[in-house]
């Protein structure tokens, strides 16, 4: 087990370097640099352009810039934003809790609804319920997030007035962030109504971000369940006279969950991509819009550092998922 972890962690290093290299090159292939982008119709004098390029190290050959960047990374330094002049890591840590909070809620929403939906569809295969659930899942899966988000806002926030339009909490509430997680901070603040305000702000973004994972999980659970329900040991369990609930809930589901866990793990990456749009629609102060803006501003350090940090998290979660297999499935545990 320990060997496995060490092996996985060691494999992360080349992955990291590859990601760093790709982002590093990709952003430099986009026309314009942080200084050019800042200049308007007036232009900039060649002397000032040269001076700023020099200060940012952009006058060096690209390979040298990259090696310098790696060296900097090896010292735990993600650099400083060229537009705000704040350290990239500080900005990331300020904004990431918002994204994480939203992602966790969306994943809980997707899992809590998705697994039962898949199980119900599988046990009632071919029935009206099955078709309805899977039809809904297919629709959810193909839903453009942006359109879906705006639609929900228009309906529930603007027309019905049930939920707030955007933000994380009503602006009337003001307290210093402690953990960065609004649900926890609003609870800790002790201000009346703050927590429920935070919850109401989370509802729509959670649904929007959770829709695609929900659909994926429901479909995956259904197909995994169908496969397992045809296995010999399920037939044996039924033959033993176990209650259908025990057969499905205990024997079949536990085995069916293994591929589902993989899918959940893989969804983390998709979730980060979805977070970009969801955060934009709901003015959610997370890392999604931060990264988008860094592209527009050609803020190389933010984009490079941000992508590395996000990929780091995705990789970490995938390792955790791998470990979780072992817990769920002894056959895999022993094979290692």
């Amino acid at each position: 087990m320990l060997g496995f972890i060490v092996r996985r962690v060691l494999l992360v290093i080349p992955t990291f370097i590859a990601i760093a290299f790709l982002t590093f090159v990709a952003i430099r292939l986009v026309p314009g640099d942080p200084i050019e982008v800042r200049t308007g119709e007036r232009g900039i004098s060649p002397e000032r352009l040269a001076q700023f390029r020099h200060e940012l190290g952009l006058d060096q050959p690209v390979w040298k810039q990259f090696l310098d960047y790696l060296w900097q990374l090896a010292h735990g330094n993600f650099g400083t934003s060229t537009s705000t002049h704040a350290p990239v890591l500080t900005e990331f840590l300020t904004l990431f809790p918002a994204t994480l909070e939203l992602a966790i809620c969306a994943m809980l929403f997707a899992t809590i609804l998705g697994i039962p939906a898949g199980v119900i569809a599988a046990t009632r295969r071919g029935s009206f319920v099955d078709y309805t659930l899977m039809g809904a899942a297919l629709t959810g899966f193909s839903m453009p997030i942006f359109w879906w988000g705006l639609l929900l806002v228009l309906f529930f926030s603007v027309n019905l007035g049930w939920t707030p339009v955007s933000g994380r909490i009503d602006l009337l509430y003001y307290f210093e962030p402690v953990t960065g997680f609004m649900l926890i901070d609003s609870w800790l603040s002790g201000e009346e109504g703050a927590f429920s305000s935070a919850v109401s702000h989370l509802i729509l973004p959670t649904i929007v971000l959770g829709t695609i994972p929900l659909a994926t999980i429901a479909r995956m659970t259904r197909s995994a369940m169908l496969e397992i329900l045809g296995e010999d040991y399920v037939r044996t369990a039924r033959a033993k006279g176990l209650s259908p609930f025990r057969v499905v809930g205990l024997h079949a589901l536990r085995n069916a969950l293994i591929p589902v866990v993989t899918v959940i793990g893989l969804q983390v990456g998709a979730l980060m991509a979805g977070a970009v749009l969801t955060e934009y629609i709901f003015s959610w102060p997370g890392i999604g819009s931060w990264l988008i803006e860094s592209i527009n501003r050609r803020d190389y350090p933010v984009l490079q550092g941000g992508i590395l940090l996000v990929s780091g998290i995705v990789i970490l979660i995938n390792i955790l998922v791998d470990l979780l297999y072992g817990v769920l499935n002894p056959r895999i545990r022993h094979a290692r």
């Binding site: 308007g40 000032r48 926030s157 339009v165 602006l171 003015s283 931060w290």
Partner: protein, 529 residues
């Protein structure tokens, strides 16, 4: 009964207190996060708007206009030769306090000197802090213009210039000329955190800074000791909402009372909402088509005038600007003083165009290039589409226009070098001074690499431009600028296409808000009903 009476009294007391404490806070749905809170180093409107409530300059723009009026300087004297400007500073002006800093003195000459020297002198300890790029200070030519800034006494500062320059006063009303607290700067330097000066705005403005959460909210509270009287609002909140449709939804629901930059496609609905006023005004900008008068056939005035008659501006405004543009006939927008409304634009008339071309010996048409810029601007939302419309209009006269474009930096550089025959660009004003637009057609800017993209150097125009720049009398300057607009219109080195229209939806309960011709969002005089 007694208990009931007591209870009643207590309830009344509580409700009374509650209504007294009902704070009037204006929520403004802004479009993005500021880079920081220092207008000396920022260039984006978003960042400048975010810092503005906390600060003042020596002089300021009268709200809703481009007129320069006193602010931290009560009055100023200009020496007869126009090179020395002495500012008499207002007394008793207080700076804001923060958790860690309480000012021990009022605003004085030291603050003025510090604020300019940081940007000007490389040996100032703050010069290199936060990137050290003072784009506006440099772009407005301050390093060339300033000879010295001297403290005459605590409340008098003398600016000595290398040449008389009337727009200098308007420059000092710009955000880059914001006055910082030298005392706060010293305190931060001593504490080893100089960058705090750029993150925590400590100024003399109507609102003092409370807190900022990136991509979420900026909070200000009214500054009761403001020199011009405490604002009528108790608080000011910027709700950062990047999506224009979300901003509009929030305004509809009353989650904010003023919003920035509505989506053009929402304008129809906004105009119909009974709770919302849709304010509008021409933007401080111009989108134009420059003819390179150094190249054939545009060296011939008749050909340039033929273009004026051949291109249908109305189609461009309708198809490309979608209602958010106003046809332009002069280089400056109508909100700038000295705008000459007597100039009559050339009408769209292909027959006249043909006649002019025939006169120039080009009735068979010709081939030209037509450059379009690769970026979107309020003054030109889609230059490629504009180019296509022009191309089609010219084809009717047998003129073959080949579309050309480059990456933005390259595009600018090549146009400035004069490689084009005909090309689009535009300008967004900085300080509302006419000179800030007319210099675009100066002889000085017509050199290769200069910003006069027509490469047009007209002595009559240029003499007036230089004279107007050296005069401080507004009436005299106005006369000269009006004449220049006639000269430009007659000789037609460029075709003014459009000014953008700025729309600002505000809820009906807001009063006292004025659309700034400078594109600013200012809340000092705003009230909530």
């Amino acid at each position: 009964m007694k208990t009931f009476a007591r209870l009643l009294a207590a309830t009344m007391l509580v409700t009374g207190l509650a209504s007294a404490a009902e704070a009037k806070t204006l929520v403004y749905c802004s479009e993005g996060s500021p880079e920081n809170f220092n207008p000396q180093i920022n260039t984006t409107g978003t960042s400048l708007d975010a810092a503005r409530p906390a600060f003042n300059q020596l002089v300021q723009f009268e709200p809703g206009t481009t007129n320069v009026v006193p602010a931290l300087a009560e009055k100023w004297d200009i020496s007869p030769d126009g090179t020395e400007i002495t500012f008499h500073l207002r007394k008793g002006v207080k700076f804001h306090s923060t958790k860690t800093f309480t000012p021990t003195r009022d605003f004085n000459a030291d603050d003025v000197i510090f604020s300019f020297e940081r940007q000007w002198k490389a040996d100032n300890p703050y010069h290199k802090v936060s990137g050290g790029a003072y784009d506006y200070f440099n772009d407005m030519g301050m390093p060339d213009l300033l000879k010295s800034i001297d403290k005459v006494d605590d409340y008098t500062v003398k600016f000595t210039l290398t040449r008389p320059e009337a727009p200098f006063l308007a420059n000092l009303a710009m955000d880059f000329a914001t006055i910082f607290s030298a005392e706060f700067a010293d305190a931060m330097l001593k504490a080893g955190t100089p960058e705090q000066l750029d993150q925590v705005p400590v100024g003399t403005g109507p609102f003092s800074f409370v807190a900022y959460q990136k991509d979420s909210v900026i909070r200000f509270k009214a500054f009761p000791d403001y020199w011009d009287g405490a604002p009528k609002l108790d608080g000011l909140v910027f709700a950062i909402t990047k999506d224009p449709t979300a901003r509009w939804s929030k305004l509809q629901k009353g989650e904010c009372q003023i919003m920035a930059y509505p989506n053009p496609s929402d304008l129809d609905a906004i105009g119909k909402d009974p709770n919302v006023n849709l304010l509008q005004q021409a933007g401080l900008n111009i989108g134009y088509l420059a003819f390179n008068v150094e190249k054939k056939p545009f060296d011939d005035k008749r050909v340039r005038l033929a273009m004026a008659h051949a291109i249908d501006k109305d189609t461009i405004l309708k198809d490309v600007y979608l209602g958010a543009g106003q046809s332009a006939k002069n280089l400056i927008p109508p909100t700038i003083w000295s705008y000459n409304d007597k100039v009559v634009d050339y009408e769209y008339d292909p027959e006249k165009a043909k006649a002019l071309l025939k006169e120039a010996g080009l009735e068979g048409g010709f081939e030209t290039d037509l450059w379009w810029m690769p970026v979107q601007r309020p003054y030109n939302p889609n230059a490629k589409r504009v180019a296509e419309i022009i191309q089609a209009d010219l084809a009717k006269l047998n003129i073959k226009a080949n579309l050309v474009s480059y990456e933005w930096g390259e595009y600018r550089k090549r146009m400035q070098a004069g490689e084009h025959k005909m090309g689009q660009l535009g300008w967004t004003g900085d300080n509302g001074d006419p000179d800030n637009f007319f210099f675009l057609l100066s002889c000085e800017a017509a050199r290769p690499g200069g910003q006069n993209l027509s490469k047009w150097c007209n002595k009559e125009f240029d003499d007036r431009l230089n004279k107007a720049k050296s005069l401080f009398d507004k009436a005299e300057r106005t006369k000269l600028y009006e004449e220049m607009q006639v000269i430009q219109h007659d000789d037609y080195p460029m075709m003014p296409i459009a000014h953008s229209i700025v729309f600002e939806p505000t809820r009906k309960e807001v009063s006292g808000y004025k659309v700034s011709p400078l594109g600013r969002h200012e809340f000092t005089n705003v009230e909530l009903k």
